[in-house]
């Protein structure tokens, strides 16, 4: 079948359309495609960071990376960290949002203060927590020893599993306000008649939470979990500043290895290979996230 002939007006509109979309495409290429292709290209070279001298090695960086136990250990650490801190963020976030949704005194002030950990700089937050955890002068050990709960200070950041638990706790404290904000916004839009109907049916507070609140929060929680999972997966500064990946690589996550490869071992090409591998894993999260949002749009 011959293609329909476009009128001059249609052709002009088509050109105008291309012209209008061009800036967006150019910006997209500059900030997304170019860095992405650069990283993949870089990962095929052995590059000495300070001088950027390079030699082609093909896929050898990937072979070396996948053959080393370090990659799988770092991936495992990343998954533990992500799953641990995300679970706590969600539980704490929903709990706090439910509290702040009630008619309590100073509700407005409390809603503002709850955002404090999320807004504070990570460096400052880590310094504060390091003092809290300090073995000799930390308030936590001091209180536990004064309370007669422990005889000797606990090493929170230098031994396992304490280090991973501490990092997960600090991460949860830092990022749970994001969950609070999103869940609280959704809570305020749940129709009150749903709760009234549940009450008439004899549902208590717990039943109302599981049968009314949670189903209503489902959509927003899916989005929150996807976003936070991606962000937590690539978290660097908080873990690096708290433990540096130690003790003995026990909290060394993928982003820390990327940093170490690039700037401590001066192997920028290998660091790019790590980063690209990380991106491939993150892609799985992205696909789930995109599918979910598409489903929402078509629903």
């Amino acid at each position: 079948m011959p293609a329909p002939i476009q009128s001059p007006l249609e052709r002009r509109y088509a050109r105008l359309g291309l012209l209008l979309i061009a800036p967006t495409v150019l910006i997209f290429c500059a900030v997304i495609i170019y860095p992405l292709v650069s990283a993949i290209y870089l990962s095929l070279f052995r590059v000495f960071t300070p001088t950027l001298e390079s030699s082609w090695v093909g896929l050898s960086n990937y072979r070396e990376l996948l053959a080393s136990g370090v990659f799988w250990k770092a991936l495992w650490n990343t998954l533990i960290w992500t799953a641990g801190t995300l679970t706590l963020q969600i539980v704490l976030g929903i709990g706090m949002a439910l509290v702040l949704h009630q008619n309590i005194w100073f509700r407005s002030l409390a809603r503002s203060l709850i955002l404090f950990p999320y807004f504070i700089s990570t460096v400052v937050a880590v310094l504060v927590w390091k003092w809290v955890f300090n073995d000799l002068y930390g308030i936590l050990n001091h209180l536990l020893m004064r309370g007669g709960i422990i005889d000797m200070p606990i090493d929170y950041l230098g031994s396992m599993p304490n280090a991973m638990i501490s990092v997960i706790l600090v991460g949860a404290w830092k990022y749970f306000p994001f969950v609070v904000i999103a869940v609280l916004a959704r809570l305020q839009t749940i129709p009150e008649p749903l709760y009234e109907a549940a009450r008439i049916d004899g549902a208590g507070p717990i039943a109302r939470f599981f049968d009314v609140t949670l189903p209503q929060l489902r959509d927003v929680l899916v989005v929150i979990i996807m976003l936070r999972a991606i962000w937590d997966f690539k978290e660097f500064d908080l873990i690096w500043l708290l433990t540096g990946g130690g003790p003995s690589s026990s909290t060394e996550t993928l982003p820390i290895v990327v940093y170490r490869q690039a700037f401590a071992l001066n192997q920028m090409g290998m660091a790019a290979a790590w980063a690209v591998s990380m991106m491939a894993i993150l892609l799985v999260f992205m696909i789930v996230y995109i599918r979910r949002t598409r489903e929402k749009e078509t629903a």
Partner: protein
């Protein structure tokens, strides 16, 4: 009445004259880069408040002599300078002058063509004024110098509290590891721990443990730079280091230089392992113990093995990518101008020790409360530092190791310590992995 001529920026006449003298001495250097509106960026990991004050004085004096040149001081850190400089070199946004980095890092950078030869600055300062061999550690394979020392540091001195020793019945400073462990066991009571040895995943653990390997009579590399860490001496050092864990605070698993220093200065540990900064910090922060503090070289496995002092040979160097090399060279030489240099040394008395004979003999340098209060300790540290070594220069028989900086930055040695001491991993396996990792870095 005595007239005192002062200049608008607060400089004294004496400092101006000294500056002029230094300016004359610098005439051998390339003329300053017609330096209108030049800004020099100066990086250093040594940025304690008192030191920053001394730097301010030196900067003001230099700027007064060189209108149009501005110097901006930026602090880096002992743990952070390697990544920061790697990024700076890669981007071309380098500082114009870097001070107080260990000599082995400077050699690494020079071997990769990242650093400007420093011979003309050394000549401007006065090559004859240096202590004999003071610049050997900066000599490169091409016969030039990649930098110079801005001071000496005896970084692994054993710090002791005489009051605690006396109370615990420890008659003399320990000379061997067995004596040290026994002394720490005797002094560990009433909430005070024996020692603040580092077990963290950081450079301090690596650098300090290298001292223990040498303290057992071992070495990390042979003189021709073959990896030699997998040895019985390293095993002995690991065994001793592990036995000391119960005598260190629980948080020593995360200790670096700052935490280790604070543990001793605050009185939380009976012994310390650090450089001369302990003296100033004790006097300022814990004067109650100031009269009881002393130091000695760190014990070794037996009296047959001589102490091995870790001197990082704090350096001065100029990145090759600096756009203001002439001005940077002039400023580098000016840092050794007596008035400013002495102020800088006095900012951490006993910590950074002078490399110039004329400075050590200068009454103004000796006229310092800390140096006068602890003359024996400062003398001991000066001697120990002068005969000190580091991974880039393990002994006078060793070739210069320009990969030492990367070995330290890789944390391979700290990881060895953590695996054996904290995780209880098999020593042979951990040592084998460590040797392989170091070998890979050497061959990369």
């Amino acid at each position: 009445m005595k007239n005192s001529l002062t200049f608008p920026n607060g400089l004294t006449r004496r400092s101006m004259l000294a500056g002029l003298a230094a300016g004359t001495a610098l005439s051998a250097l390339p003329r300053r880069a017609h330096a209108q509106d030049v800004t020099l960026r100066w990086w250093s990991p040594q940025g304690a408040p008192a030191q920053a004050e001394a730097y301010k004085f030196q900067i003001a004096a230099f700027e007064a002599l060189n209108p149009g040149i501005k110097v901006v001081f930026e602090t880096t850190s002992d743990e952070g300078y390697a990544p920061q400089l790697a990024a700076a070199f890669a981007s071309g946004e380098v500082p114009d002058l870097v001070t107080h980095l260990p000599s082995f890092s400077v050699q690494t950078y020079y071997s990769n063509g990242l650093i400007e030869p420093f011979d003309d600055v050394i000549n401007a300062i006065g090559a004859d004024d240096y202590y004999p061999g003071a610049n050997d550690v900066f000599k490169t394979a091409d016969g030039k110098y990649c930098g110079t020392g801005i001071g000496n540091t005896a970084a692994n001195m054993l710090w002791l509290r005489r009051d605690l020793m006396e109370a615990a019945g420890v008659a003399a400073a320990p000379k061997t590891w067995d004596e040290l462990r026994a002394a720490c066991q005797a002094m560990q009571k009433d909430g005070i721990f024996g020692a603040p040895l580092p077990y963290g995943q950081n450079s301090m653990t690596s650098l300090i443990f290298i001292g223990f390997i040498h303290g057992a009579g071992g070495q990390v590399f042979t003189p021709d730079l073959q990896v030699a860490i997998d040895s019985e001496q390293t095993r002995a050092a690991l065994e001793f280091y592990k036995s000391m864990r119960e005598l260190c605070p629980p948080g020593a698993t995360n200790y670096s230089w700052g935490e280790s220093l604070t543990a001793f200065v605050s009185g939380a540990t009976a012994t310390g392992i650090y450089a001369g900064r302990v003296l100033a910090n004790v006097v300022a922060q814990n004067p109650g113990i100031a009269d009881h503090v002393t130091c000695t070289t760190y014990p070794t496995i037996s009296a047959d093995v001589a102490p091995w002092t870790f001197n990082d040979f704090p350096s001065v160097f100029i990145p090759a990518q600096s756009k203001n090399k002439d001005a940077a060279k002039a400023f580098a030489a000016f840092l050794f101008d007596p008035e400013g240099y002495i102020k800088q040394l006095h900012a951490a008395p006993g910590h950074v020790l002078p490399v110039l004979k004329s400075i050590n003999e200068n009454p103004a340098y000796q006229d310092n409360d800390i140096i006068k209060k602890y003359p024996a300790e400062v003398d001991l540290m000066s001697g120990a530092a002068a005969g000190g070594f580091n991974l880039g220069y393990e002994s006078s028989a060793h070739a210069s190791n320009d990969r030492a900086g990367e070995v330290i930055a890789s944390n391979a040695i700290a990881d060895l310590v953590q695996r054996v001491v904290l995780n209880g991993d098999d020593v042979n396996a951990a040592l084998g992995d460590c040797a392989k990792a170091i070998d890979a870095i050497m061959k990369a």
